[in-house]
């Protein structure tokens, strides 16, 4: 087993446990690379990657761009706000126009779930999903699981609770798939209105009480309340949400064990997590960000190695 079973990374659902382990082992190597005085390797010097962001993103885009540049790939960036998408061009047309400039890989974020899967059926390039609507965000799940592995030694057998807005979260869905494939047990915790109805069919238990969830878990992944995706009111007030589902130092210290606290960012300080928790030793939020670059380098490297060279 030394190559990925897929040609695109569209979601964690479509890859195997072996794929995830291979990505982790490769990421270990890249983590060493990015801690060197010179952090760049020439592996992808003949690869061109287009970052297509049809939706806003700061850290994911920066992380991908840094990963691409550290692998010496040529990078072009595209964001929907400054493009012809506004003029009515279709997704396939937009992407095909970009690909005709000889692009080998596409990293795409799109507001519509399944945009990556759709595109993979119509174009001839390797696609990495950087988030599609409320569907999947595979590299985030990989870096989350990688960070758990780094901190706790293994993911298998660990109890992980994902807290907050599960309904609008692609991070939650990808995390559930990744953690389960790696042998962890997953619970979700949040207001009833923000827990999707089908969640139990994924083998995930729902816990309404944050304290109980924290007592059960080894790792708590605190998701951001995604106000921008909430067209209706899902809970009475932010204050009430914080009181019931916010993680504060007093609650954390009252547990009889040290759990690991994660957050995919950006943090709403004082809403889902207080500052003293976010900045505490138990939080691995900044490790997650650092690992994000290594994991994305691994994904791009492994996918790029499957692109066949043009016979010339």
């Amino acid at each position: 087993m030394s190559e990925l079973s897929v040609n695109h990374l569209l979601g964690i659902k479509y890859i195997t446990e072996e794929d995830i382990q291979l990505i982790f082992e490769t990421a270990d190597r890249f983590k060493e690379v990015i801690n060197r005085p010179i952090k760049k390797v020439p592996s992808l010097r003949d690869i061109t990657i287009a970052n297509l962001f049809f939706e806003n993103s700061t850290r994911t885009r920066l992380s991908f761009e840094l990963a691409e540049k550290r692998l010496s790939a040529d990078v072009i960036n595209f964001s929907a706000s400054s493009s012809s998408v506004k003029k009515g061009e279709t997704l396939i047309d937009t992407v095909n126009n970009i690909l005709s400039m000889k692009v080998d890989m596409v990293v795409m974020r799109h507001p519509n779930p399944g945009a990556g899967v759709f595109l993979s059926k119509h174009i001839n390039a390797s696609i990495v999903n950087a988030g599609d609507g409320a569907h999947e965000h595979p590299t985030q799940a990989l870096l989350d699981a990688y960070s758990i592995r780094e901190r706790l030694g293994d993911v298998s057998g660990k109890n992980v609770v994902i807290v907050g807005d599960i309904l609008h979260s692609r991070v939650a869905l990808s995390n559930i798939f990744a953690l389960q494939k790696l042998g962890a047990r997953v619970k979700v915790c949040g207001p009833q209105t923000l827990i999707p109805k089908y969640i139990e069919s994924l083998g995930v238990q729902v816990e309404g009480n944050l304290r109980k969830a924290l007592e059960w878990c080894d790792v708590a992944n605190m998701l951001r309340v995604q106000n921008e995706r909430m067209d209706i009111s899902y809970f009475p007030s932010t204050r009430e949400y914080t009181q019931q589902y916010g993680l504060n130092k007093a609650l954390l210290d009252s547990l009889d064990k040290e759990i690991v606290v994660m957050h995919p960012g950006p943090i709403n300080r004082g809403v889902e997590i207080t500052s003293d928790v976010a900045d505490s030793k138990q939080a691995i939020i900044l490790d997650q960000v650092q690992n994000g670059v290594a994991v994305r380098m691994a994904v791009l490297y492994l996918l790029a190695s499957k692109i066949k060279r043009d016979e010339d």
């Binding site: 030394s2 190559e3 990925l4 490769t26 270990d28 190597r29 060493e32 690379v33 060197r36 005085p37 010179i38 952090k39 760049k40 390797v41 020439p42 592996s43 992808l44 003949d46 692998l71 490297y301 492994l302 790029a304 190695s305 499957k306 692109i307 066949k308 060279r309």
Partner: protein, 179 residues
Amino acid sequence: MSQKVLLNATEVHIALQRLACQLIENHDTFENTVFIGIQPRGIFLAERLKHLLETDYKIKDVQLGYLDITFYRDDFRRSDKTLEANTTNINFIVENKKVVFIDDVLYTGRSIRSALTAIQSFGRPDEIELLTLIDRRFSRHLPIQPDYRGRQVDAIGEEKVKVCWVENEGEDAVYLVSE
């Protein structure tokens, strides 16, 4: 498949002793010298030489690092398989040091070309030398030659040179393997 013994255990040990003495001639106290074992197969030879210098010649504290060259190779996407990386473990800076690259077999020279690029990530060495147990003559693709060689062999294209170590394969020996 047939295989022929190029070096038996005694001959390997003699070669190692000679290589150690040649290193001492050029590096004296090894104060400013670092060994870099090229992954995956050069690390056994590098460890052996370090051990030999410490036990037989009382030269302590030779710095040794492992360098993986996978990400610097020039055949990425040219082979069918994904190139799998090994651990790089160099916890020192090579700036202004005398670096000795150590690998078991020198063949096309492409690995060493990659290593020359890779080592630059750890600083600018004063000089770089190459030590190899087996030098396959007439098979170089690049103008690279060893500074120290255990044995020079002539092997034709399809033949492979296999270096075995006690700690890995259970014996010290070098074989010429033909399909």
